[in-house]
């Protein structure tokens, strides 16, 4: 795994094993914030940033915990770091762009419970990536998340104008759409060379 080239890691995380559509991570924001393209884009960027920060932090923590032979504390430490990283982003966004802060609403603090972020930290540990590889992996995952969110938002904006049966209003329709998108992404399987 150590010899895995960087572009391949990026491609793998962003497209082939897309976090949302292939690994089912971060479904809540995927369904919740994908009604408008603009919010979807901002949410994607915020998530990407948190991913980069927590990936770097998780690498450091894992190194320290392995050194001290305290691996069983890994999960607790990871989640604490992610929570603080989210707090940081929240303060930053609130200061620089109050409008964006309002439009992201409850979903900003909820990045903490976005499983894509914790999942990323756990996967990079299992795969034993080094520091640079971890960062590239995080960037790929964030880009993939943003891509999925934008695709979904584009589809839903078009769909808002279409007439659909009453029975399929709301989440049911979004899930069917997500299923179709996921089917499309399955076409990329095998592109990145190996899975996991």
């Amino acid at each position: 795994m150590h010899a895995e080239p960087l572009p391949l890691i990026f491609l793998n995380a962003a497209i082939v094993n897309n976090f949302v559509l292939a690994l089912f991570l971060g479904i809540c924001p995927f369904l919740g914030v994908s009604a408008k393209k603009e919010t979807a884009w901002n949410m994607g960027l915020a998530t990407l940033f948190v991913m980069l920060v927590s990936s770097a932090a998780a690498y450091g923590i894992n190194w320290l915990l392995t050194l001290l032979e305290l691996e069983f504390l890994r999960l607790i430490c990871y989640i604490a770091v992610i929570a603080s990283a989210v707090q940081l982003v929240e303060m930053f966004v609130k200061k620089t762009s109050p409008a964006l802060f309002r439009s992201l609403g409850i979903f900003l603090p909820l990045i903490t419970t976005n499983c894509a972020i914790l999942g990323l930290a756990l996967f990079q540990t299992t795969k034993e990536y080094d520091f640079v590889q971890s960062l590239v992996y995080a960037a790929g995952a964030g880009a993939g998340f943003t891509l999925a969110l934008m695709l979904m938002a584009g589809l839903r904006e078009k769909l808002a104008l279409a007439k659909v049966p009453d029975v399929s209003q709301g989440a049911a329709l979004s899930l069917m759409l997500a299923g179709l998108l996921s089917l499309v992404f399955m076409g990329f399987a095998g592109l990145g060379g190996g899975h996991g």
């Binding site: 903490t112 499983c115 069917m176």
Partner: protein, 233 residues
């Protein structure tokens, strides 16, 4: 949520407020199963619902692990509800939840390595399951231990049932088996897409369609019976 925690004990004793401690009834349990089913009604905790339901046994394992974490973190949070300061409550809840998830993680690894491999990172990801944090914030932090246990059990079982609803359908369609036992004989051509990621979205979407249809039907019946127009959504 708005009132200060220290007032709660006195307030509950004197005047009936909205956030008073709930008395234990059958409804405490049933609510989580049906009216407030975490998956089908509240659409919480979707990630494990979609990811681990490609077979019945995985769905069951995941459901039971989540129920365990839900009940025990509920007990601890409910016991500590008067001591956890309001400002750091979310962080405290997450640490408590993460502790129990670590327990479950090691327990499953000891009991069944096969199940552990099948569920993968999703056992550890129970930490970020919104259902658990949601119950902690909305229920366990306000209620007595006994009602918390019953309510958490109801929610946990409701979650497990939802997982099973997806798991069995996907296993039957995608593999032709149920709990590993073949249903249709050797000539069955499995509908492979159902155990792959898209199948998860499709089956959950189909269940939601079904529940929507049930609700609309009931509304229509109410409308024809009373003659009053009902809101369709």
């Amino acid at each position: 949520m708005a009132e200060a925690p220290q007032d709660r004990a006195t307030a509950a004793a004197s005047a009936p407020l909205l956030t008073q401690e709930e008395t234990l009834t059958a409804d405490t349990f049933i609510r989580g199963l049906w009216q407030e089913n975490p998956v089908f009604v509240m659409l919480l905790g979707m990630c494990p619902v979609l990811a681990v339901t490609n077979s019945t046994i995985n769905a069951l394992g995941m459901g039971l692990s989540t129920t365990f974490v839900l009940v025990f973190s509920g007990i601890l949070i409910s016991l500590l509800r008067h001591w956890i300061p309001k400002q750091v409550r979310i962080a405290s809840y997450i640490v408590i939840i993460a502790t129990f998830v670590t327990l479950v993680d090691y327990a499953i690894q000891a009991i069944s390595l096969e199940l552990y491999a099948a569920l993968g990172a999703f056992i550890q990801l129970i930490v970020v399951n919104c259902i658990i944090l949601g119950r902690a914030e909305a229920y366990a932090s306000k209620q007595r231990v006994l009602t918390t246990i019953v309510n958490s059990l109801g929610t946990g079982i409701g979650f497990t049932l939802a997982l099973l609803a997806l798991g069995t359908v996907r296993e039957i369609l995608g593999n032709g088996t149920i709990l590993g036992i073949s249903l249709f004989g050797p000539d069955f051509q499995p509908w492979l897409i159902m155990i792959l990621p898209p199948g998860g979205f499709f089956v959950l979407g189909a269940w939601l369609l079904y529940f929507n249809w049930l609700r609309l039907n009931r509304l229509r019946r109410v409308t024809t019976f009373t003659g009053a127009p009902a809101d369709a959504r």
